[in-house]
Symmetry: C2
Amino acid sequence: MQKTISILGSTGSIGEQTLSVIDQTVGYSVGYLTAQTNIQKLEQQALTYNPIGVVITSEPHYIEFKKNTSYKGNIFFGVDGLCEAACSDDTDILMSALVGFSGVIPTLEAIKKGKTVALANKETLISAGEIIMNAVKTHSAKLIAVDSEHNALLQCLVGEDISSINTITLTASGGPFFSLPIEEFSTITLEKALKHPKWKMGSKITIDSSTLMNKGFEVIEAKWLFDLQPNQIKVLVHPQSIVHSLVEFSDGSMKAQLGMPDMRIPISYALSYPKRFSYNFPRLALEEIQTLQFYPPDFQKFPCLQVAFDCLEKGGNSTAILNAANEVAVAWFLEQKIGYTDIIRSIEFALNKMPFVAHPSLADIIEIDTQTRSLLEQHLSTKL
Amino acid sequence: MQKTISILGSTGSIGEQTLSVIDQTVGYSVGYLTAQTNIQKLEQQALTYNPIGVVITSEPHYIEFKKNTSYKGNIFFGVDGLCEAACSDDTDILMSALVGFSGVIPTLEAIKKGKTVALANKETLISAGEIIMNAVKTHSAKLIAVDSEHNALLQCLVGEDISSINTITLTASGGPFFSLPIEEFSTITLEKALKHPKWKMGSKITIDSSTLMNKGFEVIEAKWLFDLQPNQIKVLVHPQSIVHSLVEFSDGSMKAQLGMPDMRIPISYALSYPKRFSYNFPRLALEEIQTLQFYPPDFQKFPCLQVAFDCLEKGGNSTAILNAANEVAVAWFLEQKIGYTDIIRSIEFALNKMPFVAHPSLADIIEIDTQTRSLLEQHLSTKL
């Protein structure tokens, strides 16, 4: 059966790799493609895939694109455009691959339409996990994790009873600073932080990987995706990035998903779930890799991971504050306006200042997100 | 729902561990228990579990047991007794855990009754794989592998489409002689060969593990259990015996089952499949083990593995000859009447001497088994 896939964030790393998976798949066509500012790449994609429509969320880029494009399909603007793409009757599967909080609203709208959503936007579950999962149940939507770790868990859990999960273990590459002495963390430069040892990803998530905040976010996501308690979720540093995550069952047995660190594998599984397609992606040869290692994470060197566990334990709006504060702090670090260890300091500042709300509504979360950003922007500006 | 489990070979290692799993499981009762000669242990088991009946296959031991036992249930004798136990309407699940060729007939009889058979007897599939799998299909029986490796594959395949298997990888501990130089193999003593580094098993299978013939047998079993071609089956030496086997799927993703080297885990999964029970078996802590290693096997040091692949490729009655010859050779080695490297020499002798039959019937296989044994016994006796 022909399936139409719309991609929110098609010019990003996950978006591009999704298109490369679709290239190799019979029976999949492209519905909508969206970009924020990269209209050159969007132009190429639009002419190659001839989608039903494209969306641009930056107004000047939207205007420029509309003026100059050779693409003849529909051109939409902004969050409304994203929601149009996400909820269109033409969209069978939505690849939600926007970076940051901007992904939450269109993803939720697609869920409310009962869509199958391949979720690559982390912030959706980190900021609004409870609301999202309730909407998934109410509207019988399907939420399929694209992240290699949660996708690995999904693969380990196919055919299993979710109530037989004892614990899950998310693996972390450890990032570029796994072996760096704690005293040297304050000297970490942007250039060093952007060199991830294993995965090719966007710059924001690469920084989050280096602080292990990315792993902390995945802990929070795992809680929502698989209905777990915080003490059922473990993290192990696994420098080879071959075992993408593990499940321990009630009988003491564990299952792991393994593969080359290639996002096309989890992307293709998200699109084919619970079946699998045939691809000639590079194969894993364990006899060549020979050694797989596993270490407990160092919570002192990577306080972002500890803070994520703390926020998950605390619940309410904590993880939404965490996400907003981290997004601002990382943006400032990427602009080289603050140092590496200022990231965790900024997050802790925001968590201390923002009021706790036990059961936030979506409106609360949007407000918390805005307030946290403005609080932290102001705080960081004052310090400059 | 109450389920009754009968155990062929209850006084052996798998049999005892099956009883220990049943001890921890609500809703499982014992149907029949069987022994060859260990009537003391059978007496204890009979008085503890109060089965419907017991079977003893050695005639003098049967007579002695009948005379002296305090057990009040039914006491049966021989292969007919085993078939009675296997096929009884009271038996919901048959644990087929006899050692050697003697397990084939009662296992096949249970399959013909459409039973659920937890298969721990390797020889059943090695000698008569085609006949057994045809019977499983014809009689809608269920054949569930107990062996940690095939059980691992079963766990990896639950919920998956079997046609999406690309390859499977059986892991091997490498046995006690993994690091021994090839020149020293002729000096291996029985005592050294019986010291398996990881698994507590019966003596015959411990020797088979040390020669990697056990792994060769598992390759053959895997072919039948999962409908594979020989070139879809790989072996990797994994000294930690933590990853029990792996499946590579058509999309390049791999799944592995991991756990402590404790046979109670695969036994319990075989009894609960496709569900899982809750047990407090020892948990695997990867952060304590830290390192998992994988190496290609050395076919020169372990020619039994190569011979098994060759027999699988050749098909017909080759694997039945292989099994019979190995059983005789290992028995002679266990009695310290031949040396360690005489095992492979004996096997090769039998394979060269016995005639090839492309599509053996069960009668053919029984005859091949008898003939191979007598040929090899005679050959070895002459050499003494």
